[in-house]
Symmetry: C2
Subunit: 336 residues, 2 copies
């Protein structure tokens, strides 16, 4: 069955195209009788407005894009729920695009988006992203963007983040209090500001507590589970093995626990472990896992609220501000 | 900076609008010299084709929608990776819509989609969805749909699923072999065919092994973690407590482990546990968790391959077929 166009419908009903548009958008410019006539025709001929055509006219799609690296991470799935909680109140659709940590893919997505498919963008950058040229093009086209969690510092817009430096500092102090002498930090991409903040929090705590610089160990991990497993194994096989680990990637948890089992290293006896993680399953691991739990839902909710508030105003102005929502250190068996 | 339209660009370059379109789509109808001239103009005046306008002309958006209940479940995040692995080969964008298990939301999304935003749909239905009226409307508009995992049996199209009946049957037999006398099945929505298949596999195994019908226990769970926790607690507090559990929802794992800790029930000594789950963390739980692991990536990959193959043909015909990719029972500590 072929679709009927608005032009064909107008001919069948003997009205103008603009009358049909006005009837469908509840305009006061046409009478109730005309409106009824149009709606009856819409039903009879099964006419559906084409949203592409309609968004060309209105220049609004009532849709926002969320661009994130992945969803297999508990942080992002919770942040999405926070975003949805706001979007549904104002009848906005949420489109989710995944970059799978690829800068190339992120650029492709923005290129697709910038020509008008969505009204605004919420974004957490890929671990490969180190500059903001692709973002600038988006903003030049008046599509506002709000960053959350993984932000591009140089871009002037709202950024909703957590206190990565302080969380990492506190986690390091917690391990020192629990008696650790040699704490390793497992890092994610060096391009990400959240990673640098976490690493700096760790290093600053070590300096404050006069830990010998030879015991400062930063291990650069990647997006490849196999590579990371190898790095963790190498770290725990070395002669001067650390007695504490802070992992900045949730997925490293399995690698650390597996390697400890393999090498017969007891947690927390010989190695204490803290992970940046929102896994609700952390409490039933063996041993239960001490986590730096980020306010993922709240971060998503806040970023969405800023963007959608801006979209509902005539003038799309988003303040260049940094909103920090603190994380919580949840102490469990792995640092006991 | 205001955008230049194709009409303005055509005037500036002294060519027709159609020449610009042809140049941008690498048409053989125009000369290399003209093409170069147009591309130079595109660069100079920073012209970007509007994808809405362009999809109105081509009637193709090179985009598919994936409609799923959630992403906090490891099954769906892995299935998405499978879908992406196919889509990126043919330069298709993947838009993800989440229903959060709401039929209302699912209907809204399909309503939005059916008017031309995407070329095709991959879908796993919400746990509230019990009829296919909303799907029929989509198909009437020639937007093909392929179901994966949670399918609507009545809809005539391709369905990519796993062997839920057999997996559940095998899991039940595994518990019987390990000495269980009273096995409970924790069910998800009764609307879902996957749930009915799993429940029937469980019941048929009990019947085959002459288990007293008084020991057939099906507990109806919901989408609310608090409610489910209460149901698990009630089940494990009753006098005739089961000694085996098959949970059809990954998220029930935490509830079961937590309640066992609370009530001092040892796993696997007093209760053996199997969960339908793709969590890679299953092996580091305490005890490690026996799982029915679904071929999530493969299911996503196969569904995407069928849809995208159909989209690349002139005639959009998708066979009414059922493709079954088997799950694997991974035996671990919780059923030892």
């Amino acid at each position: 069955m072929g679709d009927i166009t608005i032009k064909e419908l107008a001919q069948k009903l003997g009205v103008s195209i603009s009358t049909i548009s006005k009837a469908l958008s509840n305009s006061h410019e046409i009478s109730a009788a005309t409106r009824e006539k149009v709606l009856a025709g819409v039903r009879k001929y099964k006419y559906t407005p084409n949203p592409n055509a309609s968004s060309l006219r209105k220049k609004r799609s009532n849709t926002i894009a969320v661009i994130i690296p992945e969803v297999a991470d508990s942080f992002f799935s919770q942040a999405l729920k926070g975003i949805e909680s706001i979007a549904q109140n104002v009848d906005y659709h949420v489109l989710i695009y995944l970059t799978y940590e690829s800068f190339y893919k992120e650029r492709m997505i923005l290129n697709e988006i910038k020509s008008g498919r969505v009204d605004g963008v919420l974004m957490s950058i890929s671990s490969e992203t180190s500059n903001s040229h692709h973002i600038t093009a988006l903003r030049d086209r008046n599509i506002p963007i709000v960053f959350f969690d993984r932000v591009l510092e140089e871009t002037e817009t709202a950024k909703v983040v957590t206190d990565d430096f302080e969380s990492s500092f506190k986690a390091t102090e917690h391990l020192l209090e629990r008696g650790c002498k040699h704490i390793a930090y497992l890092s994610t991409s060096r391009h990400l500001s959240i990673n640098n903040d976490r690493r700096n929090g760790y290093l600053e705590a070590l300096v404050k507590h006069n830990i010998d610089p030879s015991k400062h160990t930063v291990v650069q991990c990647s997006n490849h589970p196999e590579y990371n497993l190898g790095m963790v194994r190498k770290l725990l096989q070395q002669e001067e093995r650390p007695d504490g680990i802070i992992a900045s990637i949730e997925k490293l948890t399995s690698s650390i626990y597996d390697v400890c089992k393999e090498l017969n290293i007891s947690i927390p006896g010989q190695l204490k472990v803290i992970t940046f993680s929102n896994l609700d399953i952390a409490s039933i691991l063996s041993p239960s896992l001490t986590t730096i739990t980020q306010p993922a839902f709240e971060i998503g909710r806040t970023a969405a609220a800023i963007l959608l508030k801006a979209l509902q105003k005539k003038k799309l102005a988003i303040r260049n501000e940094r909103i920090v929502i603190p994380s919580v250190l949840v102490k469990r068996g792995s640092t006991n």
